[in-house]
């Protein structure tokens, strides 16, 4: 019973070990120079010209949320498509109400103007 989880334990140890080594070794061995170039966010990139924490339109939030909802619904369709051949008509009929609900939700957000940028 418990030995079933041994591979999992090994994986956790490996992952943790990799992290410790990847970050630990350069810290121990690497040379360190604390000059201005090295302390920039991007050593050989564009020089930052303003603060990264700035205000951006709240509309992105709406778009992200709508995306998330439909994204998850589409993810739900993949396993459904995979087992459709075995479940046959049962799964097809069961999916119809799901789609109706989805379409109603989509119409609602469209007509309510959630997709308009301005």
């Amino acid at each position: 019973m418990a030995s079933d989880y041994l591979p999992l334990l090994i994986l956790i140890l490996l992952a943790a070990g990799f992290g410790v080594i990847a970050i630990g070794l350069p810290t121990l061995l690497g040379p360190r120079e604390r000059n201005n170039q090295k302390l920039e966010p991007y050593e050989s990139g564009i020089i930052p010209f303003s603060d990264a924490r700035r205000r951006f339109p709240v509309k992105y939030y709406l778009v992200a949320m709508l995306f998330l909802i439909f994204d998850i619904e589409v993810i739900f369709l993949y396993p459904w498509a995979a087992v459709l051949r075995d479940l046959r008509l049962f799964a097809l009929v069961a999916m119809i109400p799901f789609f109706i609900v989805l379409v109603v939700g989509f119409l609602y957000e469209w007509k309510k103007g959630a997709l308009d940028w301005d």
Binding site: F90, A94, V104, L107, Y108
Partner: protein, 488 residues
């Protein structure tokens, strides 16, 4: 799998289906309406949908219980809880109409969410499967998070929604972890299957108690048991009062229904182990709720703490864990729906008198009986019923629960419950005393304010609630026969 399985016994979910179709119709009507003035139509449509739902429940009332796809059952208990929730839903819609400006602009969203919350709550009472139980919990919780923040002009409402959402999401994670452990213990997500596996010595019994403990956090949060009650006063106070009225009753009925069914059909063989912790929680909940309610100055916060104390009373029925106790709990919730919504409705009417704040301070109630004799009389009836004074509905709720608990051998718990009722009488009666026997402090100012008539729908709700509280109190046997418990 056979396609007929989808339609066999689908009548179990008829009320939920009626409401689900209704919500979609409501949303389509909302996007079809022109201009700003269709929100009365939406309110009427919501009430009609909910009444259809009640009709559908009555239609399947009294049939032999059948199960749909191993996930939902139509026994008497499910139907009783459904009735309570649908009634709370109708009264909630009637109160919300005209209440706040946002409802004119976003009536469609408001009423759809309201009905979705009702669907989730009803589903919770019929669920016989951990997965259905969790989904039902999430459906009504998510809807309520948004509804409690619907009064967007009011900072407290936003705060309430934020607090409820963050803490509620946290409680849900406990809940789903508990579900996972119970699934691990019983090897099935179906309640009766879990019971069979564990009762015949199979499964993994060592996971049961951790599972119950985690589920208890989730349920305890929803019904606001101490020590998971911290959100209750803030959310009840901040949320729009019509929403508070609806959710204080609906959430309690739904979460207790799910809790009862899970504990009594999946884990009855562990009753000896979970009864005592729940009894201790019941004592804590009643005592802390009542003692804290004594010190509240806001009417809504007082009602919130009173709701916590009532949750403790209902928990006594679960501790007893008999069929009679579960039907007593259904009766309690039925009576509680009317008296609590009634008390909140009077609060709404008083809010209008005192300048549309989202709350009423108790100090302003002084001398209210002289200015608003009808409201004061109704409030007095609700307060007396909440404190459990015969012959009103609240008394018989408590009586049946306590009786079932004594029969199951929990006399000491009942003694504490009765003592707590005595304490609660103090803060309920204080409101009556303030309204009838005290003089307002600045009589001059109060008199100058014009009288604002209550909206017709809230007058209707008050009348219905008063009638119900009195009729249930005068004819308790009739309703006690009608409302069934588990396994009856």
């Amino acid at each position: 799998m056979d396609t007929a399985l989808l339609f066999d016994n689908a009548v179990v979910l008829l009320p939920e289906l009626v409401l689900a179709v209704g919500v979609m119709v409501l949303m389509m009507v909302d996007i079809g309406r022109r201009g700003q003035n269709g929100s009365q139509l939406l309110a009427g449509l919501s009430v009609a949908i909910l009444l259809l739902g009640i009709g559908a429940s009555v239609m399947i009332w009294g049939r032999a219980p059948v199960e749909y796809l191993d996930g939902a059952i139509s026994d008497g208990f499910a139907l009783s809880v459904r009735l309570v929730i649908l009634i709370a839903g109708v009264l909630g819609v009637l109160l919300s109409r005209n209440w706040f400006p946002a409802i004119e602009r976003q009536g469609g969203a408001f009423y759809s969410l309201h009905l979705l919350a009702v669907i989730g709550m009803m589903l919770m009472g019929t669920a016989t499967n951990l997965i259905v139980l969790f989904i039902a919990l999430e459906i009504f919780s998510l809807a309520l998070y948004i509804l409690s923040g619907f009064y967007r002009e009011n900072a407290r409402s936003i705060e309430a929604a934020m607090k409820y959402f963050l803490l509620g999401a946290f409680a849900s994670t406990f809940f789903v972890y508990g579900c996972a452990l119970l699934y691990g213990a019983g090897g099935s997500s179906k309640f009766t299957q879990i019971h069979e596996t564990l009762a015949t010595g199979g499964g993994n019994p060592s996971l049961v108690l951790p599972g119950i403990a985690l589920l208890l956090v989730g349920f305890g949060f929803k019904v606001s048991l101490v020590p998971f009650h911290m959100w209750t006063p803030d959310v009840y106070q901040g949320a729009p009062t019509p929403v508070t009225a609806f959710m204080s009753v609906g959430t309690k009925a739904a979460a207790f229904a799910g809790f009862f069914r899970l504990m009594m059909t999946a884990l009855p063989s562990f009753h000896d182990q979970w009864a005592m912790p729940l009894a201790i929680l019941a004592v804590l909940t009643m005592t802390v709720g009542n003692l804290t309610a004594l010190r509240q100055s806001s009417v809504k916060r007082m009602l919130a703490y009173s709701g916590i104390a009532h949750a403790g009373n209902i928990l006594i029925a679960l501790v007893a864990g008999t069929a009679a106790a579960s039907s007593a709990a259904a009766f309690y919730l039925f009576a509680y729906a009317f008296m609590n919504i009634g008390a909140f409705t009077v609060t709404i009417a008083l809010e209008r008198q005192y300048g549309n704040e989202n709350d009423v301070e108790q100090s302003r109630l002084a001398g209210a009986a002289e200015r608003f004799p009808v409201l004061a009389a109704a409030m007095a009836i609700f307060m007396l019923s909440l404190s459990g004074i015969p012959p009103l509905a609240g008394f018989f709720g408590k009586f049946l629960v306590f009786k079932a608990a004594v029969e199951a051998g929990w006399a000491w718990l009942v003694v504490i419950g009765v003592l707590n009722s005595a304490v609660s009488a103090y803060y309920y009666l204080r409101i009556v005393v303030a309204m009838y026997f005290q003089q307002p402090e600045q009589a001059g100012d109060e008199k100058e304010q014009p009288f604002v008539p209550a909206s017709r729908s809230s007058v209707f709700v008050v009348v219905v609630s008063v009638l119900a509280v009195v009729v249930i109190g005068l004819q308790p046997g009739l309703w006690a026969d009608l409302l069934r418990g588990l396994g009856q």
